[in-house]
Assembly symmetry: C5
């Protein structure tokens, strides 16, 4: 296990929300990023974006019902931001808490004036670590406000489509833009899964060669990532289903077939995750059986060598013994009171017997299939 | 693990859809095959087929309500094809996307004018690799359009029945033909399962002989294939159930009992897959216990041989030691200051003791049941 | 693993239906048995049976509403039989296909004139192999037709009760006879489970003795059989539940409490199967832990013997070395330039040291609990 | 595994009902105990019990609506008993069969005149074997009849409360007494679970010491018992739920909150059983890892000793070789044609080298952490 | 496993309720703590607390509808307390039993005058042992009574908010205070989970180093704790859901969005617990594979050393044999009747052969990858 893997591992750890204080209180860290507010002003013929420094003018801005607005807020480092949302758009304090305590599962909450939704964006950083970021949506009749804690996103293709203006992205209203963002997020899951699927394939190839100890760590890392995706994909599916069955007028009829499409994608995600999990489990089984087999092989080598040579060494030891006798005539001690030692071809015979013993054992082990 | 297996393995890998761009866009690869369009024109007395070069005349063609049409489209290498479907038959763009991004799970979607359905065809190529191909259906009142990416299919028996004209295949309308195709696809699953079931039986026979390392790979390969079939069969079952309960007039009352029959078949498939999975799991358990037992046997051999000969070698070693003493008279060193060595039958006694030790050990191991 | 077991195993293999040709076609093998048709004519006071050669007169026969008829058909080797059923009793062709493709799961289908049901009879042959045979029921208002492919059945007790005429078996109509047959089939499951439960008990006893390699095969065989029963019992339960909730007038009110009773039995079967499966799994766990423990024991013997004697052999080896020096006076080589060899009690001391080393090791291993 | 455990084990075996003959037939064994009938006559102020020899007068007895009656029947050795129940109280024959074939799962059946219920009493005999006995209830408006096959019960506390007359046990009618008995039965489950929980704790303590082979047997025994309780507790829960939702007037409104209480207890039982099962599984995992670790330790000892002494023995062996040369002058064979043997400090150097080799190896193994 | 861990373990054991005597009887132990009663009197502008010695004046106290009361009762050592609750507030005796038999699962019971609820407080003592304490709630229109057996709680933040008076805690009535307490309890779960999550991370780091035997104990300890939390969190979720869907007027509309928030938190808890359980399971898998790998390594060392030196020792042994012959001239025994011994470079050649054998073996093992 090299250092790098170890650090990767660390980052994947489970985030657990801190116990909050009073409910409905926005939770802003001293490390929170300065908010960047981008307004996308969209109608059939035009698409323009500009940056806002705060949301004070938002009510006036949204009053122009000829346009659809997408207000993108990145970074939470400003309590006034949330105060404005509460004051101007009457966004419930509990929702503001949910937005800032960014451990929410994907969910949908419908209110009279707006719909609140949460998606979880999965991004891979350059070390293939999974970043799991919350994206909150506030949907009104002609506006979509998205809020996220950090600056990184995966909205490129949607903005591209807004610029180009093909399809119905400019004309289908705010709920369609919400769908488009949710869809791009779910599509991102496919991308990530396809990377891990390839990793898993590479791992599997290693099984056919000589998998070493790091194999298990690598499989478990993938398995952990799959668990993380599954934790996100299941409630995402429920959320999309809630959107399909929602009777809020804010989610337009025109958008619903597209939501169904995203819902189908989400089911495919879950499907793939489950399959990849089963494949990981299979690979672990395989690896363990490979270890066991390897053990058997090691033991076979030891047993064959020991079984052949230990008895032979014993024989050699016997004829290395020094039994002696006193010569009755000279009263000298004549060495080696062991008749075999003086047999004329004793040495030859002994060697032959040793070879025979060795051959018999080889035949025995061969028959047992130990040389395969 | 031989090369061939390795390549087979590779091909079985999970396909993960690429993240799409804008929704409702047909996804045509540069490698897409040139479309081949076959029209089957059917009524009670006649059955004729011909090839079309494009679908431009399709509205006119289908206007003849005296016939049932089955339009078979193979190969997607023509964007105009899909434009025509959209223009002439008003097929939703999201559906066209579903048709061309061929990773859909089996599903049923009902619209006012037509019904859209997806089945997944499983075919085995000559190396027993599972090909998993999507077949899309568009059902209108007097026509069935089927679309698939590649040329291979399993529709032979249906075309044969159309030619012969027995039964109600010519008279029961387009939804019956859709049923017949879905049924032949599900029947194909039986065929594939029966091949794997036999493979599993052969594997099981190997368990009674001497299973080697490739056993685990082979079982896992089957298990992987079973996972793939299950991924297809479950949503297929749901789709058939949706068709049964559908209130679309396009699925005729006459066809429903047959759909129920296909539904029953699909439940049997799932049943068999689950049973085969349990059998694979059992076989893996067996194999692992066989490895463990083999290990025990190897160790027994080593232990028996070592335990018998190591102590004997020690004894031989003792009497090979060179303790000596100085002769008080001659001041010469007389070798072997070890009384046993000069005992008159020392060597004999030693050998007898060694044999006794060996026999005692053999008896001990025998009693422990190690020779069984 | 002896031959017999191997052959038993083979027979237990999963049967997978062949992909059919056109739906609604009866599937008659050239090996199909000649049909034997027995008519049981039952009313409160009389019970008579006779054989029929064909079903041509069946409409006339059943016209006599004063009697309840049970028509028992064994063997499918006659296509006319099924034609007659279709022509005279209007039995749906899909049902005829279901009857003859004998891989149906237990199910209930209600039609206007009749009810179609499938049960699966489990029989043990003399080698304790599980025979899994389909019994199909066609229930009309005053008749029950049962169809099965082979001649063997388990209806003895029902026929006995019909002969004796006690209870309400003669007076409760055709649906009660159907219940009675289904109940005897389910009761048969108890009988079979009780045999396997005993087998499992015997296996468990072997765990306390010295289970050998065949243990695993034997447990897996039972487990496989349990899987087979479960595959039958679950849909049987659903079928009985469907019968309970059915609103067909053909299943009389009077019969329903009895069906509920059979339903309860079926739940007990499932309960027992699940328990036996858990017990098998426990036994496999036990067996694997026994193998591991055995391995530990083998290794302990090897380690104790080797650890004691290898160091001692080394010491003996040391004093068997031939280091020599040249006598400065005689210029002869005096053997054994090793002072210990000439110490007056060198041999004795050496032996004492060896004994001490051995004793220390024995104490060490004793303390580690290796002699237990 | 000692004898006693073995016998305990045997008794825990699964009972499987025998296939019955005709339905609705009471099943009385020749070993059935002689029935003992006790009548408890209860009203607000009085409580008296007496024995009956038969049930012939039961209709008259129960006619006195001023009292609540609890008729306790133990022992089934009298067919007339059941005939009387059928004749006098119109108890359905299928129920009589259920009462006497004592393998019913807990259930509730409502009829016009009475309610039939089954509980399963769990009792521990002096060897801690689980006795699983059926208690059947027949509840009418002013009477409760309980039937059980054997004499042992756990009703002491209820009878005590009837004697003392505190609370509403005397005034709340027959359904309250039924509740009280069911509650005492469920409470008994807690008692039994608490014994097993302690056993499991003791087992767990053994894990910290040196668990031997019997550990596995003991855990599995507990696991088996837990499976048995779970088989009883789940349907018991369903039964109590059925009672809660029952619309029978025989189960009084006043009693329902108490039934809800028993229902809560039953859920707690299931909860505890599942937790204990998870704990058993954990313990088995632990035990297996302990065996593996022990194996590692055994092998470490063997490997350390062998690795150190086998090379040293080889060196000693080398210098025990007898290579010789012929003296060119004397034509005598001078032993030991091996220069090291005549090096002046050859023996010393050799010993030093051996010690160095041994120390290096010890350092190597120390670094690998094998001495921990 | 050190002592401390052992004692920690003991405390985590499962508590199983004792079988109770008569239902509706409060269960007060002789060890019950003396009750401490604190009254919190709250309205928009004021917040005061005082201690009560008993509840006799409670009806009068609560009559003042201008205030919201939170009556906090800690310690159950006074039967009169419960008598007063029953007499003054008409609290059902079964509820009083539930309060005092403190093994209830979280639940909600609605009555006409009040709502009864149970939460389970999880607290960690200084040794990180999980204390699982029951908190019972009785909610009336203007009062909340909380009851707990011991003095320790986690209400600090709520009392703080009451003192400060910000937010709607003072004005939103008794059901809001109940929510606030339940929420703080659920938040506490997050805190505990985050501690265990860190422990699990530390354990995981040990996997990358050299995990020893205590690893398994430590993982199992965490797993056990997770099981305990899950046992609490699931019914807590159900309870909060019941509160959401409750139609009791005592749970005000204003409070419901907050309850939904707590419900979301509870789902997150369950989510995290399940993930941590999967991570523990992965870690156990890893650990077991590490043990197996370690075994392989140990065996490799043994096999390499033995395989190299045992054959060499054999060769040395052969040339240590004492085969001799009688000199035909002198009739003296000339030692070493083994031609190799007199070959001029016999010793050198032998040593060279030995080195070659050793090198070949090293190459063989190198190729097998045993040195990696």
């Amino acid at each position: 296990m090299d250092k790098k893997n170890k650090s990767r591992k660390k980052k994947q750890r489970l985030k657990i929300p801190k116990a909050g204080s009073s409910p409905g209180v926005v939770y802003i860290d001293e490390n929170s990023l300065k908010p960047v507010i981008t307004v996308h002003k969209i109608n059939e013929t035009t698409y323009e974006t500009r940056e806002l420094s705060n949301l004070n003018q938002i009510t006036q801005l949204l009053a122009d019902k000829n346009f659809t607005f997408w207000i993108e807020i990145k970074g939470f480092g400003s309590p006034e931001l949330f105060e404005t949302l509460n004051r101007e758009l009457h966004v419930n304090r509990l929702i503001l808490e949910d937005i800032t305590r960014s451990y929410q599962r994907p969910k949908l909450e419908e209110y009279d004036d707006y719909v609140f939704a949460v998606s979880r964006m999965l991004l891979l950083d350059e070390d293939k670590n999974l970043e799991n970021e919350q994206l909150s949506f506030i949907l009104t009749d002609n506006a979509l406000i998205t809020l996220q804690e950090n600056y990184s996103d995966c909205f490129g293709p949607v903005i591209q489509r807004l610029k180009v203006g093909k399809g119905n992205i400019r004309v289908a209203g705010s709920s369609y833009i919400m769908y488009a963002l949710m869809d791009i997020i779910v599509d991102k899951y496919f991308e990530i899964l396809s990377i891990w699927s390839e990793d898993l394939d590479l791992l599997e190839d290693r099984l056919f060669d000589k998998p070493d100890k790091s194999f298990m760590f690598d499989v478990q890392l993938i398995k952990r990532n799959l668990i993380n995706i599954r934790r996100v994909a299941w409630p995402e599916r429920d959320k999309l289903n809630d959107m399909l069955r929602s009777d809020s007028h804010l989610i337009t009829e025109q958008t619903r077939p597209f939501i169904r499409d995203a819902y189908d994608h989400c089911i495919q995600i879950i499907d793939i995750v489950e399959s990849l999990k089963e494949i990981s489990a299979s690979n672990i089984d395989m690896y363990l059986s490979i270890i066991s087999n390897r053990m058997n092989e090691i033991m076979k080598v030891l047993t064959i060598i020991s079984s052949i040579f230990i008895p032979l060494t014993f024989i050699a030891g016997v004829y290395g013994m020094n039994f002696a006798k006193e010569d009755p005539v000279t009263h000298k001690f004549m060495p080696y009171n062991m008749p075999e030692l003086y047999a004329s071809h004793g040495y030859l015979y002994t060697m032959v017997i040793m070879v025979i013993i060795a051959i018999l054992q080889v035949i025995y082990f061969w028959r047992k299939g130990w040389f395969k």
